[in-house]
């Protein structure tokens, strides 16, 4: 039997039973479409998260006082407490060519008040570099002025929420607020940027780091944010930071450096695994489609008993009957899978329209895997009915009408 004839014969018998064929086709199409759409959503989530991360500011390194590593040797017997990170430590880091910007951060809580309104918030002492390192945006006025880090200027920049709580709709620029026991002039207001790195940046007041040092009477930094010169310089920046601090801390490695890449790749890994898991779950629906195909093919075989008997009588051996029926389920799965791909493409497009900020797109392997599983299921579950057809006793098959 020529393959063109085989194809035409199978297509003809599939078309001969439209309801049955339609049902199997639908099951396959839904299976394939759900695999592709679900993986597209998973992949979209991954891309979305990595985009959110890069909006934190590019090439970010975070330096935290104290070692948080658990590798290597026993804990030091001479219970050495880690040295504080100071403003001078932070500024020393700038000497490396791998480091572009450094923003020391000192954190403290204080009551901020204006006229009769007050609010207890975090006060963040930092430098003008914070603006670029954290990719902040100014709604009104300006950010902290450039100049000597040691100068304790009495100016502050308010987060959007804090500003609204204290000033309502009136402009705070040029007004004085009281932070703790000191008076600060408001020079700017941040836009609503919301939550980032676990802190609500709209409910803070930012003051020069020297002012916060004086305000809280402390010299230790909460952490240091660093922007590397570029992506390739991140590793070099990390080495140079470690070395600089070690030199300044009597040879002790008493800091922890978190790179944004490390965080990002962790999330990336988690979401990739999630996408695979979702794809695997969706693949179950393909198996269900396969079982449906098997059932319907079994019915088809018993309804076409007389035809099978005839084919045998006119010279088709069992192997040829088998090939005909397997080809039917394979063709059906293939066409169903193709329809599923079209449906999933439309689905992805519609989701893209409805949620423009969410980057849905199926990874390249998803449609390939979906079609492979669909055709595999068609072949696997088409095998049993085909075998049954091939094994029919032609005399009995012909006596049924």
């Amino acid at each position: 039997m020529k393959s063109a004839d085989l194809t035409r014969f199978c297509a003809g018998s599939l078309a001969g039973y439209p309801l049955r064929t339609g049902l199997m086709f639908l099951a396959m199409a839904i299976g394939v479409a759900s695999v592709v759409i679900l993986t597209a959503l998973g992949e979209g989530a991954r891309i979305y998260v990595s985009q959110q991360f890069s909006s934190l500011g590019t090439h970010l390194l975070i330096v935290i006082p104290g070692r948080s590593e658990t590798t290597g040797g026993p804990p030091p017997l001479l219970g050495e407490t880690p040295r504080d990170l100071t403003i001078d430590d932070a500024m020393a880091l700038l000497r490396s060519s791998a480091v572009r910007k450094v923003a020391p951060i000192m954190i403290g809580g204080a009551l901020v008040s204006y006229e009769n309104r007050s609010r207890e918030v975090f006060i963040m002492g930092s430098t003008p570099d914070l603006y670029d390192v954290r990719d902040l945006k100014i709604a009104q006025g300006r950010f902290l002025p450039k100049g000597d880090v040691d100068r304790a200027e009495a100016v502050c920049v308010l987060g959007q929420k804090l500003k609204t709580e204290l000033f309502g709709n009136t402009s705070p620029l040029g007004r004085f607020v009281r932070i703790g026991q000191r008076r600060f002039r408001v020079i700017g207001v941040l836009t609503k940027k919301g939550q980032s790195l676990g802190m609500d940046i709209s409910d803070v007041a930012i003051i020069p780091v020297a002012s916060s040092s004086a305000l809280f009477n402390q010299s230790s930094l909460f952490r240091i944010l660093i922007q590397a010169a570029n992506t390739d310089a991140v590793a070099r920046a990390k080495r140079s930071v470690l070395e600089t601090i070690r030199n300044r801390h009597d040879g002790e490695d008493d800091i922890t450096i978190i790179t944004q890449d490390a965080l990002l790749s962790t999330f990336d890994r988690i979401l990739k695994v999630l996408t695979y898991a979702v794809a695997a779950i969706a693949a179950i629906s393909l198996t269900v489609a396969g079982i449906l195909i098997m059932n319907i093919m079994l019915i088809a075989v018993s309804q076409r008993t007389a035809e099978i008997g005839l084919l045998k009588a006119i010279g088709a051996p069992g192997s040829q009957i088998m090939r005909i029926f397997i080809s039917e389920s394979a063709m059906l799965s293939l066409v169903g899978a193709a329809a599923g791909l079209i449906v999933s493409a439309l689905g992805v497009m519609v989701i893209g329209r409805l949620f423009p900020f969410f980057p849905v797109r199926a990874p390249f392997w998803a449609p390939v895997a979906a079609v492979a599983v669909a055709v595999g299921a068609g072949l696997l579950f088409g095998w049993l009915p085909a075998k049954r057809a091939a094994d029919f006793d032609p005399v009995l098959a012909l006596s049924s009408r």
Partner: protein, 229 residues
């Protein structure tokens, strides 16, 4: 051409053993026109199925054109059916979704014959059956007699050595039955061997040789009588 010796076919139904055929010897020569008659259940169809390699005997020897068919594989038997044997059934057994043309074409499709050659042979065969106008009709758009003539065209399309017909007129009225018989007789006149099972003594009377069966045995064969005479 055909030589059966000591053929036995047994069916087990529950605890009962049915001897559908017992100790059947039969020889058919090239070009013969043989009818098989007998009461219902006497084993006529069973014999025909064994002749057509659709069924295997439980005992005995079957030589088809000097081939020992008993020891052929499923595939080899299918090959013999395809090229040497044409079947005509009481219930036509046309594929309902296919047109007359496509039904006749089917054996050639299975055999992998070229589309152009197929077309030509189908047209010739249906033309000989007087069905030129009905080529694109599906079975349900044809009369019983027309359907059986399509089936005859299909059974002869591979130029078989023998035609096996199991009550080919059993489902037809008298007139179209006669039509079909004449068609079959024409084939025989052109040299085709024909073995036909029938209930109709009148049809049986027309054949050159009559075989009568009862209880799974051949009880009378006109060719033996001639040999004895």
């Amino acid at each position: 051409m055909i030589r059966l010796e000591g053929i036995e076919r047994i069916f087990e139904v529950g605890d009962e053993t049915v001897y559908a055929l017992s100790n059947v010897d039969l020889t058919v020569e090239q070009g013969e026109y043989v009818s098989i008659m007998g009461p219902s259940g006497s084993g006529k169809s069973t014999l025909l199925n064994i002749l057509g390699l659709l069924d295997r005997p439980d005992k005995g020897v079957y030589h088809f054109e000097d081939i020992d068919t008993i020891h052929l594989s499923d595939k080899q038997q299918a090959h013999v059916r395809r090229h040497k044997i044409g079947f005509i059934f009481q219930f036509f057994h046309l594929v309902a979704r296919l047109t007359a043309e496509q039904n006749v074409e089917l054996p050639m499709i299975l055999a992998g014959i070229d589309a152009r050659e197929r077309k030509q042979r189908v047209h010739e065969a249906l033309g000989r059956m007087g069905l030129n106008e009905r080529m694109k009709h599906r079975p349900d758009q044809l009369s019983g007699g027309q359907r059986q003539r399509v089936a005859i065209a299909r059974s002869t399309i591979m130029n078989p050595a023998i035609i096996l017909a199991d009550e080919p007129t059993g489902n037809l009225d008298r007139a179209s039955g006669m039509d079909v018989i004449r068609t079959i007789e024409d084939l025989n006149k052109q040299g085709m061997t024909v073995v036909m099972v029938t209930h109709d003594p009148e049809l049986g009377g027309r054949t050159g040789r009559q075989v009568r069966m009862e209880d799974g045995r051949i009880i009378r064969d006109t060719s033996d009588e001639r040999a004895l005479a």
